[in-house]
């Protein structure tokens, strides 16, 4: 049985959460904030190891003007094969208002052998919105060949495109995904996006963060860290260090 579920979060200034709706495998819990970076924190608690083939999941977060929200997760998301050959779809839709801030720091997305997942993250930022967004794709569980994974990350700021990236890996992807132009044998891929209107005055310089990771300024007040690693642990280490550097 495939399922359709949409979970929703709305954050308002001062830490209130006017909307906090769990649905199906996407269970949302309000958790205690651990630092000064957010007024409210929501943790996605994966009740099942969804998504399975055929599932259609969606997670929406609306951070209203002036609100500050942190969203994280209790565990990695594992894409698994379903009973139907259809791919699973997982849509994340984020909206961040004026002077609002969203820290979107979920756990890894693991593409298990035989699975097929299309993940789409769309972000609409107001001109003065701030964003920290992390995505990590792990291709296959330990020692396993990956499933087929497509992830698209589209970010608009003040209505204009800021970042649009699609990554496709695995046996169902076009050939060449594992070659020297795309992954070069790495099995963990991560992005860390930081959007901060203050960067308009002081654009970042590109920075090398090791052999297979780099920080680059986007064509806008934002930087993107792109990192490849052999596994999830090494990837997280690079991204954590970059996150500390950028926000610490």
């Amino acid at each position: 049985m495939s399922l359709t579920a949409t979970a929703r979060i709305t954050a308002a200034p001062g830490g209130s959460l006017p909307v906090l709706e769990s649905d199906g495998p996407l269970a949302l819990r309000r958790t205690r904030t651990t630092g000064p970076d957010a007024d409210a924190r929501v943790t996605v608690v994966g009740a099942m190891s969804a998504p399975l083939g055929g599932d259609r999941l969606a997670l929406e977060a609306d951070v209203r003007d002036g609100a500050r929200l942190l969203v994280d997760a209790a565990a990695a998301t594992v894409a698994l094969p379903g009973r139907t050959p259809a791919p699973a779809h997982y849509d994340v839709r984020l909206t961040v208002g004026e002077d609002a801030e969203l820290r979107w720091l979920p756990e890894q997305l693991i593409s298990a052998y035989g699975s097929e997942l299309c993940m789409r993250t769309t972000v609409q930022l107001a001109a003065t919105a701030r964003l920290v967004l992390r995505e990590e794709q792990i291709l296959g569980r330990h020692g396993e060949e990956p499933g087929t994974l497509t992830t698209r990350l589209t970010v608009h700021r003040a209505g204009a495109p800021l970042l649009d990236q699609e990554l496709r890996y695995g046996p169902g992807a076009s050939v060449g995904w594992d070659g020297g132009a795309v992954l070069g044998g790495h099995r963990a891929v991560g992005q860390l996006l930081l959007v901060d209107p203050d960067m308009a005055d002081k654009p970042a310089e590109p920075r090398l963060l090791g052999e297979t990771a780099v920080l680059t300024p986007l064509a806008g007040p934002a930087v993107l860290v792109t990192a490849l690693a052999a596994d999830a642990r090494l990837l997280r280490r690079v991204l954590d260090r970059a996150l500390d550097d950028l926000t610490g």
Binding site: L162, D164, Q165, R168, G176, A181, G184
Partner: protein, 220 residues
């Protein structure tokens, strides 16, 4: 039938600066990711299906007459690497010069006036194709071909790779090039919001590393 104009535009000797760029091959060679014809084929294939598709669709959209400003922003959003954005604009400016001299027209003049520092090369190429009487499929074909021919000719210089082998790599990729070009043109016909954004993490990472080298043979 517009084949001859397409050959003029697609010719590796078209004087628009491409010869000084390796399409990421120089960095990949140094990192040991291309050591022979098989590695070159895997590299070219990955580039073709990622940035090749994305660039080809931008070119096809420009050839269809979509707004160059919007295409320029779409290209920026699809090019997170500053080094690659700079290279694309530099090559775009050189392509603008070459195209204006080759197929003079008001549209290319307007483009040059609108982007004095250059817009992304695929956008210029699409408008050059338009000026040459070519269509979006032609522009897309041109881009996918240079997506793989650039690294192949650079690999011949960098690795002293047998040029026959390098050309055979391109020949074997031809059916895939046709598919990618058709996909790109089809996406462009649906409008700017439907343009693909396929990307390649290693190309982005290696481009920044390459730009930081004090000594290199190719500009990108």
């Amino acid at each position: 039938m517009r084949r001859s104009a397409l050959l003029v535009l697609a010719d590796g000797r078209f004087p628009a600066g491409g010869h000084a760029h390796s399409g990421g091959a120089e960095a990949a060679v140094k990192a040991g990711r291309i050591t022979d014809a098989a590695g070159l084929a895997a590299f070219c294939r990955g580039r073709l299906h990622t940035t090749g598709l994305t660039s080809a669709a931008l070119a096809a959209a420009a050839a269809l007459g979509h707004d160059p400003y919007e295409l320029d922003r779409a290209a920026d959003a699809r090019t997170p690497s500053l080094a690659l954005r700079s290279a694309a604009r530099k090559l775009g400016r050189q392509m603008t010069r070459a195209a204006r001299a080759t197929w003079p027209c008001a549209e290319l003049d307007a483009l040059a006036a609108a982007f004095p520092r250059g817009t992304h090369q695929p956008v210029v190429l699409g408008l050059a194709a338009r000026a040459a009487g070519l269509g979006p499929e032609d522009a897309a074909h041109c881009v996918v071909y240079e997506t793989v021919s650039g690294p192949a000719s650079a690999a011949v210089r960098l690795l002293s790779l047998d040029p026959f082998q390098a050309t055979a790599v391109l020949a074997r990729l031809a059916p895939e090039m046709d598919q990618v070009a058709e996909r790109a043109a089809a996406a462009a016909r649906q409008g700017i919001d439907h343009l693909p954004a396929a990307s390649a993490p290693l190309l982005d990472i290696a481009a920044e590393q390459h730009a930081a080298w004090p000594v290199r043979l190719f500009a990108s």
